[in-house]
Point group: C2
Chain length 248, copies 2
């Protein structure tokens, strides 16, 4: 697994206070910050996440930075290589397929559950979220769009009222954002957001069948937009590439 040799830029700290950021950040907060940075691909896959560097950035010691990295590793957002450190994960094609298969199992069930219990307030919240999706798309803010499109699924899961399912799905959606980042060919955000709107309509009308069916199709379409073929045996590629390169 070739890791990109990129480093998080630690601004050469003018030692202003005792801590770089205002207050001792909680581990939770650090995890959150790094996770969203990964999800919005401000930290591309393969990026080395040094403990020292992160500690400096968040104004904490290596202890906390390390804790955060280990928690991100259990969520599969970073890969830990023994004695080598933490890197933003690079999900394999197999992993990608497995994540989406799991989502195709969970999400229809979650949607079905939600259709039963959805309140007008919750529908309203979903519509507001959808409006934000549209706004992000309209302003060509790809990062925000991607984040919001993913979060829509988590939102429904949380509203459906089963914390266990919601937690699992949140993890899968986060991983999915890494996956789409690596393998997405055509990011048809507009289409996705439209389907979200449709789904809300079905939920509002308590049309379980249609809602479940749409959720499934939606996921299939998203997955179909990925280029999930094996990365054609990197070693061979490397060799031929070098042969052709010459005096590059």
């Amino acid at each position: 697994m070739s890791q990109v040799s990129r480093q998080v830029a630690r601004r050469s700290a003018p030692p202003r206070r005792r801590t770089a950021r205002r207050r001792a950040a909680t581990t939770e907060a650090i995890v959150e910050r790094i996770a969203t940075a990964i999800a919005e691909h401000r930290l591309p896959p393969g990026t080395k996440l040094g403990e020292e560097a992160l500690g400096e950035i968040f104004g904490v010691s290596r202890t906390k930075a390390r804790q955060a990295l280990h928690r991100l590793a259990t969520d599969k957002l970073v890969t830990l290589l023994p004695h080598r450190g933490a890197f933003v994960a690079q999900p394999t094609v197999l992993e990608a397929r497995e994540v989406f298969e799991a989502r195709r199992v969970l999400e229809p069930a979650v949607v079905a559950r939600f259709v039963d219990v959805a309140t007008p307030d919750q529908i309203e919240t979903l519509l507001e979220h959808h409006a934000r999706e549209q706004a992000a798309i309209a302003t060509n803010d790809a990062r925000a769009a991607q984040r919001l499109l993913g979060w829509f699924h988590v939102l429904i899961a949380e509203m459906a009222g089963n914390r266990v399912l919601a937690d699992v799905l949140r993890e899968l959606v986060m991983r999915s954002s890494l996956i789409t980042l690596l393998y997405q060919t055509t990011a048809d955000s507009r289409r996705s957001s439209e389907e979200h709107r449709e789904l809300i309509a079905h939920i509002e009308k308590r049309e379980v069948e249609q809602a479940v069916e749409l959720a499934t199709r939606h996921l299939e379409r998203v997955e179909a937009g990925l280029a999930l073929r094996e990365p054609s045996s990197e070693v061979v590629d490397l060799k031929s590439a070098l042969a052709a390169a010459g005096a590059g």
Copy 2:
């Protein structure tokens, strides 16, 4: 949430070597040991898990013990109370219902997948496992029986070939063992093991419909054997209990 004030017994260490156990245990090993101890209810819910004590037992420093406890906490097998420490988790009734609902979503899908891909070798492994279940039941080894009955489900998930689903299910099965511990009324191990045997038969004959149906029924029956009613508002109980107690 009232925590039982029980303590892990730290044998008053005669400082034999540098480490209590033979070699520096890996965090993974410690997690595993504690997890199985919980699953087999050698560590009952509410038991305090002190960092120092665990460190002594496994011959490591608090650092590793702490790491292990935090990882167990993410699996929901222990509860962390800030500045108070780690306790063996006491899943609530709500949590129990949610875990089983999640399993009812996942397991039929896993079984369906497995029916498609099952090899004779895998069937053989399942039969061997079933034999071990029977042996444990025959010798009245309730702990082993409970552990094996749970692990059967994990085994199928792992064989089904989707690592994501398998990981999620493993976590849920572990939590389930805590739940059955707390809420189980009638532990009909014999019946469960019989259903496992039936399921293997369906899988072997590639009878998807029946296999999925049985998996669902099996889970429903297990859940039905739990007393998942709210623990009648502890405060009130406490009050009346004390009034009645008098000179106990």
